[in-house]
């Protein structure tokens, strides 16, 4: 009995998810309604309503056919799948090629006992999993067992780490993004307005106006309003992040990691240690000052979607973080710096933030001089724009003091900054895709270089370290032709 004959359907809930792919067909009845409304009136529209009904039936039929043509079969050897109505595709992903096997249980699907299974390999696009489908809870558990019994993932749990609630709170505190919160808030208000009517929208806007007026102490009300939106957006994003990472738990088996957590969407990932690209200890300027560390993983199929877990150790002290890391991933050892930039390289680090730090205050003064009636708002805007510029300068100064490269056995530790974050990245030699040692004309005089490492991943991920000695850099990465 071959795999095709043993294949089964995904959960019928999938039909609803397939509906949106054919929603574009609704443009036909919409266009028809528009043109008949302009020319023939209601009677003309009604006489052609059969076409609208036909389009809706076609959408539902296509979604059903798509579900009917999707089948899968999984055992310890791998997962067989087939899909497509007109353009059919059948494939087999061997277990040893599956990097991440994830089961997601969003809260709106839990009453239906439906979960989403995600299977990912190093191939194809980094933005989307290789295979995604909906199954019942029981079926998801069975599929997970198959992946767990594969020789490359099986093994008893060697250790387990469950972070404290404060660690999770700090993680959400420092990683929440105001923009996402604002988008969520705007969507919520607009949808509630449609359901509850105009009165709700008026109530929300009146409350917002009153709060802006109350908070406008020494600053213009419009600026207070903008600050209120940002704070509210951040607060919503914070709550959302907290619910996504609550109950975080990481278990280490002989060859793999099992990571689970989340309240809104319960997530469970199975990762192979060999498929982890690198470990990233990430800090912002604030957490650097408070000496708090959080550890992220870069692995194929992990941390892909916006509500995925990507931190395995949320904010902790250095000692605790290193201790946890040595238990969960003892292979990834952080070594002290061997190569670091010289003192004269400080200008290379601060040149990028230097210009905004000078030009924004200068521009503010000039604008205030030209438009004296707008002085208060210009000054406030100038101040708000200067804050991220000087913050960036602070990050680059810390980067200058801490950046460098080291190596222990075949594990490299890179320390560098990217935008507003300071990274300490650890990876194995076999995860390096490309070593680019770059020397500009100005660096030739003292034989310095920049190093850009691309690590092995679905997409491109680079690590850039500035102004190191060229010869030792060539030797540490075996990029010397005489090696």
């Amino acid at each position: 009995m071959n795999n095709a004959s043993k294949a089964v359907h995904a959960h019928p809930f999938s039909i609803f998810t397939y509906l949106y792919r054919y929603i574009f067909l609704l443009i036909i009845p919409v266009a028809r309604g528009f043109f008949t409304g302009l020319t023939g009136g209601f009677a003309a529209w009604l006489s052609g309503a059969w076409l609208d009904v036909l389009i809706v039936v076609a959408i539902i039929s296509l979604a059903y056919l798509k579900w009917d043509n999707f089948k899968y079969y999984m055992d310890i050897h791998g997962i067989y799948y087939t899909y497509g109505i007109f353009f059919k595709r059948a494939g087999f992903i061997p277990s040893q090629k599956i990097s991440t096997f994830a089961v997601m249980k969003p809260f709106w699907l839990r009453p239906l006992r439906v979960s989403k299974v995600r299977v990912d390999t190093i191939a194809l696009r980094p933005q989307k999993a290789d295979l995604e489908f909906f199954v019942s809870f029981d079926q998801a558990d069975r599929l997970q067992d198959f992946f767990n019994t594969s020789p490359l993932t099986q093994g008893k749990v060697l250790c387990q780490y469950r972070p404290s609630i404060m660690g999770v709170v700090f993680l959400s505190l420092f990683t929440s993004n105001s923009f996402i919160g604002i988008v969520l808030m705007a969507t919520f208000i607009s949808q509630m307005g449609q359901i509850l009517g105009r009165q709700f929208n008026d109530f929300v806007f009146y409350t917002f106006e009153e709060l802006s007026r109350l908070l406008a102490i020494g600053i213009p009300p419009i600026a207070a309003g903008a600050a209120l939106i940002l704070v509210a957006g951040w607060l919503i994003a914070f709550c959302f992040n907290l619910l996504q990472t609550k109950n975080l738990c990481t278990r280490r088996t002989q060859h793999g990691l099992q990571i689970g957590g989340g309240v809104i969407t319960q997530k469970h990932y199975e990762l192979r240690i060999s498929d982890i690209s690198f470990v990233d200890i990430r800090q912002s300027l604030l957490t650097k000052l408070f000496r708090l560390y959080s550890v992220y993983l870069n692995a194929i199929g992990f941390g892909k979607e916006k509500d995925d877990i990507s931190a395995i150790i949320p904010f902790s002290t250095q000692k605790r973080t290193l201790n946890r890391l040595s238990l969960l991933l003892p292979e990834y050892r952080i070594s002290p710096r061997q190569l670091k930039p010289n003192f004269g390289a400080v200008f290379k680090f601060i040149i990028d933030p230097f210009w905004p730090c000078v030009l924004i205050p200068a521009g503010t003064l000039v604008a205030a001089w030209f438009l004296p009636n707008w002085t208060s708002i210009i000054r406030f805007t100038g101040f708000m724009l200067s804050v991220p510029a000087f913050w960036f300068l602070g990050v680059r100064l810390v980067d200058f003091a801490t950046s460098g490269i080291s190596k222990i056995d075949d594990y490299y530790t890179l320390r560098y900054s990217k935008l507003y974050y300071i990274h300490t990245v650890v990876f194995n030699w076999d995860k390096i895709a490309l070593i680019n040692i770059r020397q500009s004309i100005l660096q030739r005089g003292d034989d310095k270089c920049d190093i850009v490492i691309s690590t092995r991943a679905e997409g491109r991920r680079t690590h850039h370290i500035r102004n190191l000695d060229r010869q030792p850099s060539l030797e540490i990465f075996h990029a010397h032709e005489n090696h």
């Binding site: 190093i122 491109r460 075996h478």
Partner: protein, 151 residues
């Protein structure tokens, strides 16, 4: 390890391509020559002629001079760059495959280019003799090389 240079004919190919690309700006210069005393015409002409001469006299010769490749026990190494001098090292175990590429102009001169693909990066080696390109492709195909000097 033997450092190998691409065939010098690649410099001619780059220059011929440059001549081909300069046809359009030279056409505009000639077409609007009645406006020769206008500053826009002067700036346009100076810019494209200056760019052409910079590429023809300095950029491509320096690019060829710095271009070379070799192997060591762990990596395929490509030396390249003009303004930035670059050493690009590809760990041999992460190479997925290599593809031989040729344009009509390259085929006319008997040359090929090689694109070496890894998960997360790729490197392009121009100006190889046809035989060298095939040999290099064979060497860089996973499982066929495990260190030493294949050149």
């Amino acid at each position: 390890m033997t450092l190998k240079k691409p065939n010098h004919k690649i410099l001619s190919i780059w220059r011929i391509r440059l001549l081909g690309m300069s046809v359009i700006p030279s056409f505009f210069t000639a077409y609007f020559s009645a406006w020769a005393f206008h500053w826009v015409w002067k700036v346009w002409t100076v810019l494209w002629v200056g760019g052409f001469l910079y590429l023809y006299i300095f950029y491509y010769p320096i690019k060829y001079k710095k271009l070379s490749y070799t192997f060591n026990s762990r990596c395929f190494i490509l030396n390249c760059g003009v303004i930035y001098t670059r050493v690009k090292a590809l760990p041999l175990q992460n190479i997925q495959y290599a593809a031989v590429i040729s344009t009509p102009l390259e085929r006319l001169f008997g040359l090929r280019s090689l694109a070496v693909m890894c998960a997360g990066a790729s490197v392009y080696v121009p100006g190889l003799d046809a035989q060298d390109a095939l040999q290099l492709q064979d060497i860089l195909t996973p499982g066929k090389f495990s260190g030493g000097d294949p050149l």
